[in-house]
Amino acid sequence: MNIRSHFTYRKAVDRIVRGLCLLAALLALVPLFSVLYYVTARGLGGISFEFFTELPTPVGEEHGGVANAITGTLTLVGLACLFGIPPGVLAGVYLSQFGHTRLGKIVRFSADVMSGVPSVTIGIFVYSLLVVRTKQFSAYAGGLALAVIMLPTVTRTTEELLKLVPEALREAALGLGVPQWRTTLSVMLRTAAPGVATGIMLAVARVAGETAPLLFTSFSNRFWPGGLDEPTASLPVQIYTYAVSPYEDWHSQAWAAALVLVALVLTLNVAARVLVRHRVR
Amino acid sequence: MGRMHTDREYEAELTALRERVLLMAARVEEQVNGALRAYQTQDSVLAERVRQADSQVDQLEVEIDGLCVQMLARRQPVASDLRFVTTILKIVTDLERIGDLATSICSRVLELQGTPGAYRPSALQDMGEAARNMVRDAVDALVAGDARKAREVSRRDQLIDEQHAAFFPIIARQMEATPSDFDHLMRMISISKAIERIADHATNLAEMVVFMVEGRDVRHVHEDKPERKQRAE
């Protein structure tokens, strides 16, 4: 084969492989877009102003909403952030500093194992820990379950991102006579902050859609909850309840609620990204 | 010069420089030798040959200067290498001057042609040989990196200075005795002066060798003071 035709051959191979890669990428996008399309197509009909402001109505009554489920989800996610982020970030800091010690290795291993535990198991765990003892489903319990699910992700993300911060910055700060703890928080964590924030947002987005653990913890509520220690409605549980019911009316409510949930998660994701891009500039 | 350079090219450049200097030193030594022999034997052919060889020595000086400047620019030598290169920059001038002085002796010898029976003191011959030995030993000291020998050479300079000074009254008496020989005797003084200058340059050379080997500048220092007290060797 002479050089010229060999060159043509290689160019052809290059084109074919590139085409295959593009095809694979498009195929991967098919489920994502079909889900988005399906949810939008089926859910949009159920969306109305009352849907966001009204409580759910019994079967047969028109114009019910999921207002309590939306605020419930926001409450649960808020509580999860409160319970999950500080210990998660601090554990990540610990791992980045002392990850090579015996205890550090145990912590990291536990975090990795925990991130593989099915969320329903965590729901049962919080159920027996909190719900059984207080004899009460509550927002606290739901928030705690979600926090436990977030914890390993937040920890490992923080650790990995802190590791990406150049050691030179730590030395620079220590060399200026800055104490170790201050160096870690004000220089290392501060530099890694945009990345850590993204990691946290993604973890939040993930738990916002959790259903199984909430069935045992925050349960559900058709009315406004009287406080954080009462059963609380949430979008995923509401969707689940409506979807498994035999009523056509509730099915369309479920689709609408699903659309709201997807929009919520998408907003969180986009917000995370915008926030990061803004910070970097 | 101790161990080899890690950079072979650098080592080769230093070796090449060294060889050029040794070649130049050898040529200059030949010139001095030839001049003395021409004076002794009145050999005008030899004298002419010595004069012509001078341009070769001049060329070597230019070439070696160039090599040294290149070395300084490209290698930034330090310590013994720096002393080696700077020493060479200085001694090529001395070597070239020695060559010039040998040439000027030869010119006088050529002018002496046609006065075969004239006064030709053997003292001048002895002085010339002493100066030639200084040049030879200084070059040997350079080759061997022998500071002791170099010191010894520089001490011999005084003797030649004395001989040159002592030569004046002798010539003066001759001038009184035979005023007709004035031109001839002036040439004798000129030769004596040239020999004395050759010894001076050989001394410079020797002193630079001491600097090159020990890193100490011994010029314009009275050597009777013990030198080595400060340096443990």
Binding site: L176, V178, V187, A193 | G2, A79
Partner: protein, 293 residues
């Protein structure tokens, strides 16, 4: 082979009680050289810092094997030597940055104004003994101005007139005119040489007494290097400077004193002009002329 050299009285390096500096024989001050003497001022010199029998290790590996050396006040001391000779470890011992790495230990004494640094609070020590690193490392999240103030702010110290301080520090490193119109830009927007000068300004803002520089020009181009070297000449009027360098010409250019380290030992320490024209030790000679290994 014993390592007698011109600084350390022979035999006193190891085994001797490290109680005082008495056995540190001081290199005589350079003679006045007239116009040429600008390089080494004929000052009365005292040691701002001195190491006495300093040993340092990483785990079981001993990096420094008993270093004793004075570092003269308001002079530049360069540390040269092949990679792995312990020169970086040495200057990191001087502000106790060595022990920050886990498994790193050190034994012996280092004095700062006669006081043993190992009995000081490392944080306070590092405010007095500042450090500039190999790679310029401005804080990426901070502006140029905030970088200069970083040391003070992160230490929780109140800055009375921050603007004046920033300007003074940046003028000291000859960066002010180049950045004064964009003082709130990120430190990373500067060129490598400017970043390094910013890092030096950041160190100067802490008003240290000693500045340690660990190969400060190895990431810079020749012009940026010349700027930093000029700066070192300026700074030594007020500060004691110790610079580690791989570049022997740089040591020859900026340092008043040069120390040659080899395999964790101090082989020779003397005035720079002496080291580069007639070193006393064969190993120094071999290293600086390139006849090593």
């Amino acid at each position: 082979m014993s390592t007698t050299n011109s600084v350390v009285a022979s035999g006193s390096v190891s085994g001797a009680p490290w109680g005082s500096d008495a056995h540190l024989q001081v290199v005589p001050p350079p003679p006045s050289l007239g116009a040429l003497g600008a390089m080494v001022e004929p000052l009365h010199e005292s040691a701002k810092m001195s190491a006495v029998g300093l040993r340092a290790s990483f785990g079981a590996r001993e990096i420094l094997k008993g270093i004793s050396i004075p570092l003269y006040e308001k002079h530049v001391t360069a540390i040269i030597g092949p990679s792995g000779c312990g020169k970086s470890t040495f200057i990191r011992c001087l502000n106790r940055m060595h022990e920050v790495v886990s498994g790193a230990t050190s034994v012996g004494q280092v004095h700062l104004d006669g006081q043993d640094i190992f009995s000081m609070d490392p944080v306070r020590l590092r405010r007095r003994v500042g450090m500039v690193f190999q790679k310029p490392n401005p804080f990426p999240t901070m502006s140029i101005r905030d970088n200069v103030l970083a040391g003070l702010r992160l230490n929780g110290l109140k800055v009375a007139e921050p603007d004046a301080l920033v300007e003074r520090a940046l003028r000291q490193v000859a960066l002010w005119d180049e950045v004064k119109d964009g003082i709130h830009r990120s430190g990373l927007s500067l060129s490598g040489g400017q970043q390094q000068r910013l890092c030096i300004a950041r160190t100067l803002a802490m008003e240290p007494e000693v500045i340690l520089m660990d190969e400060p020009c190895s990431a810079l181009d020749p012009i940026a290097t010349a700027r930093v070297e000029e700066l070192i000449h300026e700074l030594k009027k007020d500060y004691t400077i110790v610079i580690v360098t791989h570049n022997m010409q740089q040591a020859a250019r900026v340092a008043d004193y040069t120390a040659f380290f080899y395999m964790g030992e101090l082989i020779e320490h003397d005035r720079t002009d002496v080291i580069f024209t007639r070193p006393a030790q064969q190993r120094t000679e071999d290293y600086i002329t390139g006849r090593f290994g």
